[in-house]
């Protein structure tokens, strides 16, 4: 077996890399694949809490690389017993604890036994980014339709090209369709034409992802989550299935419009 190693990156922090990694990993496993997700944000680990596995951590990525434990000992299986495993980041070390070569060797070893290895890349373009990128054969960029996220995504695309990772795919996260509609948020075409990379997914802003993170159950398990449904479609596309891109719908219904006008709070457009 020769698996695919994909880095999920963004440049800017807080745009949803970790959420995307957890959801795509879960969705690919639900499609019947064997998947390993690796948190490479050493010192600031989070993928474990998003996946609800924080209580099961014994060994971490740095332990494996330093030979303190066997690879399998650091792999935590998903709660639903899917063929999905997490290798958590070390929390008390820093990004210089591992080298690009070490992570590359680790992923090469995993590729022999698993279909997909997803690397959750830390924010920024320093050592942690370099480690994550060196190990990957493909890249997915996560951005939100905001100027700061898009600018950083553009920088990252340039850096990926420079390190030989061509044709990265783009996920546009947290699209608020009603804002796009009234001209207060850039839409798919805008972002796509600015960054000039292929869009692999459009994820609506969905407050259910906050609840999903609270519970430690990725949104792809939640049948009512529109973001979860979007990630499920992205996973299908990664898997080679031809699924049309679905533009998020503007919130319909009189109630929501009334609520908007009156200004009742209750929508969360920004969350990590």
């Amino acid at each position: 077996m020769k698996g695919r190693t994909i880095v999920i990156t963004s440049g800017k922090g807080g745009v949803g890399k970790t959420t995307a990694t957890a959801n795509l990993g879960t969705a690919l496993a639900m499609r019947g694949h064997s998947v390993v997700v690796i948190d490479t944000d050493i010192g600031l680990r989070n993928l474990d809490v998003i996946m609800g596995l924080e209580n099961r951590i014994v060994y971490d990525l740095v332990n494996v690389i330093e030979g303190k434990c066997r690879l399998r000992q650091a792999m935590i299986q998903d709660k639903n017993r899917l063929e999905l495993y997490l290798i958590p980041a070390a929390q008390t070390r820093d990004k210089d604890s591992i080298t690009p070569e070490q992570l590359k060797a680790l992923c090469a070893e995993l590729e022999n036994d698993f279909d997909f290895i997803l690397i959750d890349c830390p924010a920024g373009i320093e050592q942690g980014f370099k480690n994550a990128v060196a190990a990957a054969g493909e890249a997915i960029i996560v951005t939100t339709p905001e100027v700061s996220a898009i600018r950083d995504a553009d920088r990252v695309i340039g850096l990926l090209e420079a390190s030989g990772l061509h044709r990265p795919k783009l996920i546009i996260n947290r699209i608020a369709a009603d804002m796009v509609k009234r001209g207060d948020m850039m839409g798919q075409e805008d972002v796509e034409s600015l960054l000039a990379v292929e869009v692999i997914g459009l994820v609506p802003a969905d407050e259910r992802t906050v609840a999903a993170a609270n519970r430690g159950i990725p949104a792809v398990h939640d049948g009512r989550s529109t973001a979860g449904a979007a990630f499920t479609r992205i996973a299908a596309r990664i898997d080679g299935e031809e699924v049309p891109l679905k533009e998020p719908d503007a919130r319909p219904g009189m109630f929501n419009r009334l609520r908007d006008m009156v200004g009742i709070k209750g929508r969360a457009y920004s969350h990590a």
Binding site: V147, I150, M261, V262
Partner: protein, 96 residues
């Protein structure tokens, strides 16, 4: 209430540019500038090569060569100032 006001105001000035239009316009320029991304070494090399080309055709000062990337409204421009020296030699060349 604020939303209602904004909505009514939105109806009133439909002709004006939306914030997403502004964002797109700003991003296009910012990204071009970011992408140019010339290292000081490359910049010096380009400067030198441009000087060599120009000096094949006229006498120019090798010290006075300014170079900058500048933004003007919708355009991103590479602007250089090259001082032409020895006007006599230039005039002489033309009359010869």
């Amino acid at each position: 209430m604020r939303e209602l006001l904004r909505w009514l105001l939105g109806l009133a000035d439909k002709g004006s540019e939306s914030s997403s239009d502004v964002a797109r316009r700003r991003m296009r320029l910012v990204l071009i500038q970011d992408r140019i991304d010339l290292s000081p070494d490359k910049m010096d090399q380009m400067k030198q090569e441009i000087w060599e080309v120009v000096s094949r055709y006229m006498v120019v000062d090798d010290e006075f060569l300014e170079f900058e990337v500048r933004r003007l409204d919708e355009l991103v421009m590479l602007v250089s100032h090259i001082e032409v020296k020895d006007l006599n030699a230039l005039v002489g060349a033309r009359s010869a």
